[in-house]
Symmetry: C2
Subunit: 358 residues, 2 copies
Amino acid sequence: MTAERDGAKRSRGRRVTQREIADIVGVSSATVSYAFNGTPGVSEDVRQRILTVAKDLGFRPNRTAQGLRRGRMNMIGLLLADIANPFYPELSSGVINAASAHGSQVFLAQVGLGGMLQAEAARNLVDRGCDGLVFTSVVDGDTELLRELQAADTPFVYANRRVDAIPADWVHVDDFAASREAAEWVVRSGRLQVAVIGGPSESSVSHDRARGALAALGAAGLSPVDERLIDGELSRDSGRERCAALLDSGAAVDAIVCGNDMIALGVMDVCHARGVLIPEDVAIVGFDDMSFASAGPLQLSTVTVPRQLMGERAVAMLFDRIDGYDGPPREECLPHQLRIRATTGPRTAGPTDQRGTA
Amino acid sequence: MTAERDGAKRSRGRRVTQREIADIVGVSSATVSYAFNGTPGVSEDVRQRILTVAKDLGFRPNRTAQGLRRGRMNMIGLLLADIANPFYPELSSGVINAASAHGSQVFLAQVGLGGMLQAEAARNLVDRGCDGLVFTSVVDGDTELLRELQAADTPFVYANRRVDAIPADWVHVDDFAASREAAEWVVRSGRLQVAVIGGPSESSVSHDRARGALAALGAAGLSPVDERLIDGELSRDSGRERCAALLDSGAAVDAIVCGNDMIALGVMDVCHARGVLIPEDVAIVGFDDMSFASAGPLQLSTVTVPRQLMGERAVAMLFDRIDGYDGPPREECLPHQLRIRATTGPRTAGPTDQRGTA
DNA sequence: CGATTGGCCTTAATCGATTAAGGAGGTGTC
DNA sequence: GACACCTCCTTAATCGATTAAGGCCAATCG
């Protein structure tokens, strides 16, 4: 008798359909559909009766059925390497909000890291009917997938990283220039023994950042402390490991240019643990300006990347494609900003020669 | 003639269907479906021919059609307040990976913050066919929505926050006890003028944390410095504002217990800017142990919350429901850990009476 | 007054898969 | 020879919406 009992009785997901509304109002289901879509040719009286009944019954359209019929699901896929890396949440936030403003929602896939491979995840998203994809973590190995998507005419954009071999819409910052500026600053402030601890070379972004730093060093007639440290992961752990290896090697270092702020965090962990003073002994510069970089006592010098905006612009470009734009791939370069804080302050000690005795 | 030309010619999303495979192999589409699903009753010969043709044509099943017919989309919805708040990405990562292990993918909805209202977002996810929902940021105002979901028998779980009035599966930590422990530590180390800068009282988690801290103070015969500061947002900005207000008020303070690490970050920003020494003048304790809390020079005392695990357990409980478990709501309390670092070190100065002249 | 015109609905096909029910052809049994 | 019984397919309904095409009726026109 009660609503509770009814609720318990129906099987899960038993939802009101247009057909039921049609039966109650006494019209055909087509009319109900027309009423909801505002299609002309439904009298105001009937429309009102339909809407009233729908409301009473708590009708909600089945988006799956709509999607099947209309061939468009109004959703986009977002692929990222590791949502726990603080770079991505803000980018994602931009993507989600911009998509929402376009009436779409976002399907999230985490690739690598216990998740699926990128290609598998991307195909899955397409199978589910995503109208387009935003790639934030492509690597060169994804070439085949991207080719496949282009062949099938599935819209996608690169946010941040890109694959050179597959031209497509791309939103990014000038990583090369930004990294060069950061390294230049370090060099100009008198550091001579500069180490570069970068990200994976298969990522275009990390690659560009490393090249930028090396270009600055080269222009000053310097070369990096230990070339083998350049390539690695963009994680705090990897920063720790490589910084420890660097200090252990006994090489003289008075500055470390990091591929991102997470690496810088790991580097600072090790320096802190070993009593290496920042910036007195070693200057440190990160990349991305993650929220913690400006934290009270931390004050990491870094490069600001407009991550939220990057997500928003990526979605804007993607919707252009989804809505039919068919021109050549476009590239949008967002402004970055060198943010000098305390970790690149004046150098007061001689080149450090800590032997990593900590 | 070329594959390129064919590709350009077909309209977007023109994908191979079972029907086309059936026509080529010379069987009915039903047989094709049976072949893919491993349903008995298809000869090995025919099955092989079907699979071969499917592979050649790059067939992929349309998950939307499958979902419509099967009534299950194999996806879950994840609702969160602000993906840029570092609490959520790690929780999300746990959710995504656990869902992936169950063969499901995750739909993400950001509520508030330029996104939709929670109820709107949740209904949207259900309309799209999500098999269940994970709520991470419910507030008391969502009661009606939750009731509606229960009436429709839509499975959902609370991760972290909960709404008392609507019992449902819930994964959390003992925020009350953890916060009490944190405050006790501060009190035991000799601080007498303790301020509590918490989160929104409409969040069960913030509410419990605030109660825990107050309980510790009460047990020591103390009361918080300024009760009006307890309620606010869980953001760095809010931490800044309230800390500034606190210092401006001229009240004597020698410890600040924060509702989470973001607030603590804002508090540290202000202290740093005004020359208030941590921990000499003011001890600070956060909550959540976000990655930056342990950063080199930062060393924020806080409480560790197993966020990734929380996401995984939430999904496990959710899938129990999706798979038919129909018992009473279950509650899972995960272990927390008080993490004492440098910001709660010994107090060396008298109670601060900075007038905020910075 | 018969024909045309519009307004308002209905019929039925369709999206791409799943699946119950049924049929054709061969084998086995008595 | 008849009947049951497999094995392997096919037919057709179905999920819940959308939408082209067509029907009915009253109003309008020459």
